[in-house]
Symmetry: C2
Subunit: 209 residues, 2 copies
DNA sequence: GACTGTGAAGCCATTCACAGCT
DNA sequence: AGCTGTGAATGGCTTCACAGTC
């Protein structure tokens, strides 16, 4: 079970498979074939088998996969057999929405704090959380042993906030700001660029539509 | 300028380049080289040139690109020389946050309506918009000539809402629900799966961290 | 001298096809 | 007979390297 060089696309699909299996699990389905998973999530069955093969042999030839077992393996592989504490920097509309988003909690991501540098909103409630001052960043990261940070500040502030997160010891960053961030090699960065997604739609509407 | 088969990755990068150029434009920079763009957005200079080459020859050998001109070309290519009217279905936390997100408006995406099927919240204000009943979908899509829909409903309702959007005439869908959606071949679908993104971080923290 | 545009090479992911189990 | 696991083939994106232009 070595992660020598797993394609990122494979990791993303594993996450999707795991949610599909969770659904099957709730429906009390006991076994599933690669073909069924494939149809369920919209990829090819060979793709499903190849993706799983990076991590071991989880199935039985002639039969398929035991749903509960495969689900367990996938959650393990994804590192979701533990809770991850998460901090959000930027308590604007998006930051607050993410702080309240149930989908994260359901998959083991616990939003422990939401920060902002605007004194006018520090102290306001976001569900059961209270918006904290940016000064508290380092303290909170240590207190909750936070490895994952979410950046939802405006573009101008994004690099500065990112540097502070890394300086505080955060090891992985999910960036929602529309700015390309520089991070050291040992910090993992992912960008979720909302406008880019709409713009790809716009492109396709314009040229294929 | 034919979009025979443009890699999706290229289109996403064009969107990023265009924002970088916008920044340069505001800083009154007149010309820029592929190397500078590359450094600015974190790709290779060959990549920048290849991406642009799909659409024409925009530069001058020995000099580089005129910022304003290239920016114009990119906005054109991306279909952002026009306004796109957008409808959001699902007025939960995320839907409301997206409805208020300024980044969309700045790039020419106008959120014209936000709908929900929960009578308890229909009529509530989201900035200057009012949450409308789902019944009004078709009427609103026609009224505003809407081509783009954003789905921010819970997983269970996602396919149903998607079908209704398509039935109403929407041609492109940005799906934020954690459900794989089926759409006809002539409808463009993109998924923004927030949990998947965190789970890729979790995977990398577990195996490379 | 500097930088673009591009064919060729290299690399990586997906698909194919079949041997190997049950 | 049915389905997994996998080497080989394919296809597609990225990088290289250099000819062409200013």
């Amino acid at each position: 079970m070595k992660a020598y060089k797993i394609p990122e696309a494979t990791v993303m699909r594993l996450s999707v498979y795991s949610r599909y299996l969770q659904q099957l699990l709730e429906e009390k389905v006991e076994t599933v074939s690669s073909g069924e998973i494939a149809r369920g999530v919209g990829v090819s069955s060979a793709q499903v088998r190849k993706d799983l093969a990076y991590f071991g042999e989880f199935g039985t030839r002639g039969v398929g996969y035991r749903v509960e077992e495969l689900f367990g393996h996938l959650m393990n592989i994804l590192g979701l057999d533990q809770q991850w504490n998460v901090i959000i920097v930027g308590a604007g509309k998006l930051g607050c929405a993410l702080a309240r988003y149930q989908g994260f909690r359901e998959r083991g991501f616990q939003i422990c704090a939401i920060l902002d540098n605007d004194p006018a909103i520090v102290g306001e409630k976001v569900d059961c959380l209270q918006i904290e001052s940016l000064d508290k960043l380092k303290k909170l990261v240590h207190e909750y042993d936070i490895k994952v940070g979410i950046v939802t500040v405006p573009a101008e502030a994004a690099q500065d906030v990112t540097d502070q997160l890394i300086e505080s010891g955060v090891k992985a960053i999910l960036n929602f700001s529309p700015r390309v961030l520089k991070v050291p090699a040992d910090v993992i960065l992912r960008n979720v660029d909302l406008s880019v997604n709409l713009e790809v739609l716009s492109f396709n509407l314009t040229y294929n539509g």
